[in-house]
């Protein structure tokens, strides 16, 4: 099975990264981890003890890459507005059953409270952009490229 890889992109103004993973669920979860690592130096882990919460999230979009942008924007909202860090995620990406139908993401999230001091808050991210957004399936799984506005 191909490994999950993440790589930062050298972007002058903002922040970008590339991901590769064997399947979309793993890739979306890797995107969650990269995003948290951009937001904080020491994000809490899935085994975080203390105040934890479970949340169910359902998103849909007309294409898989747009679903990735919506996922990242949703995570930004959760962290930056609700002050909850998604420390774990069980994900299911459902391709459209019919032409013209939407891609769906079903996420069961475990969240912990944001503690900017303890988590080494780096700074806000404004949003996930569509600039040079890529998500494609290759022989070795899925690859993505995302640029965030900071």
């Amino acid at each position: 099975m191909p490994a999950t890889r993440t790589r930062p992109l050298e972007h002058t103004g903002d922040i970008g990264f590339e991901l590769s993973a064997p399947d979309l669920e793993t890739l979306f979860d890797a995107a969650r981890r990269v995003l948290l690592a951009e937001l904080m130096a020491s994000p809490p882990e899935g085994n975080h003890r203390g105040d934890r919460d479970e949340a169910v999230l359902q998103l849909e979009a007309p294409a898989a890459d747009r679903l990735l942008v919506r996922w990242l924007d949703e995570l930004l909202y959760l962290v930056q507005t609700r002050q909850r860090v998604p420390v774990g995620a069980r994900l299911r990406v459902v391709p459209p059953a019919l032409d013209g139908a939407a891609w769906q993401l079903q996420a069961q999230l475990t969240t912990a409270p944001l503690d900017p001091q303890a988590h080494g808050w780096r700074g806000e991210v404004k949003g996930a952009t569509y600039h040079d957004l890529q998500l494609a399936r290759g022989r070795a799984g899925w690859r993505a490229r995302v640029i965030l506005d900071v």
Binding site: P8, L9, E10, H11, T12, G13, D14, I15, A41, P62, R66, R70, D73, Y77, V79, Q80, T81, Q83, L114, P116, Q117, G120, W121, R122, G123, E124, K126, G127, T129, Y130, H131, D132, L133, I147, D149, V150
Partner: protein
Amino acid sequence: MTTLERTFETAGRCRYRIPRHGDMRVDAVFYASQAILDMLAEEDYASLRQLVNVATLPGIVAPALAMPDIHWGYGFPIGGVAAFDPRAGGVVSPGGVGYDINCGVRLLGSALTADDLAPRVERLADALFRRVPTGVGSKRQAERLEEDELRRLLVEGAGFMVARGHGEADDLARTESGGRLAGADPDALSPRALERGLPQLGSLGSGNHFLEVQVVDEIYHAAAAAAMGLARGTVTVLIHTGSRGLGHQVCSDYVERFLDALPRYGIDLPDRQLAAAPAESPDGRAYLGAMAAAANFAFANRQRITASVREAFEEAGFTPRDHGLHVIYDLAHNNAKLEEHGGRPLLVHRKGATRAFPPGHPELPPAYRPIGQPVFVPGDMGRYSYVLVGTEGAMRDTFGSSCHGAGRRMSRHRARKEARRRDLLRELADRGVVVRAAGRGTVAEEMPEAYKDVADVVDTVDAAGIGRKVARLRPRLVVKG
């Protein structure tokens, strides 16, 4: 991108043209010194490719422009200016305005000198850091609002803050558009945009946003400096922030909406971040109403921070009479505004670019009509920032626009890596700059070397005639998110 390098040609002093080719509807023009040209090559002309993409948008009026602080952004390049004719199907593009709608800078003048500041600079730094929340992670909230109050603020802009006692009528008179864009429609915002805005009024944010106490150390244009009350050795305060999460959410919401609407308007794009709709379509009008509301939030945000700055100076031991803090001007560098150019109304997008109207323009406050619009160009936290004024050349060549900053030259990841080997706070202290930051990460990403030398940018502007240098400001105290 050697192909692109071969296509541009000299078109004046520090001015280059990329003739229309491929899907471009108009020529593109950018401003650069030799050093800036070298930096464009270093990033493999990514920002020029973005400028070429902008030139393909429907209804664009020649030329698509980039100021000398041009660098690789998303959709538009940073430093991009593009004007569209709404009556000829011209579009509005949320990505061409940016996530941080109406991000801008406000310069405060004071009655203080560098000598007054020196003994109290540490105390002032603590007071500013405590009183001006940086956003996520801040314990303090500057202003508590109910949703109905927020909705009023979105229509009234900075005036709403003044009416609540956070400022003076003269602050508004010296703010671009009086601190209020007409046509704001709070109902065009999603509930999430309102939710994100509610706790953030009066906060700075992170990234390249900052609050800086400076000293005027050079005057280049005596009459303009005098009109702005700038004299060598006097203290100024520069506030750089925007519409916070509310504006970011408006941008995200409308990029999504416009992407869905593209087939309806028959628009093909080279980059989806340029998602656009005709300005006079229902989608375009809805965005413009939401954008104006977010712009008004940004004006109100800078107004509320101004009040916190005044309080901090008083906490540090300066009476209001001592400090005499007053607004010199407040201007935006991320928006789309309907303006008259060449006798017709055009929707001018400025993404990391500043309006720079010339002397005599009716939209200027009376005090600045003889000199032109003040333009503030922040540099980096270790060197200097500049004050310029708008010119006839800018009105003629760039839809009345000029640069907005130094422009980055180093990626944030690379800056973080470089910073690991250094003690940046100590280095800045050695340069006489006191820093208060919510985290070391932002200081690392914003290290002086991450930016071009802003002196090169403003010299290019000055040489090209699209702005005129007035004064240079040296940082003494920097607050970062």
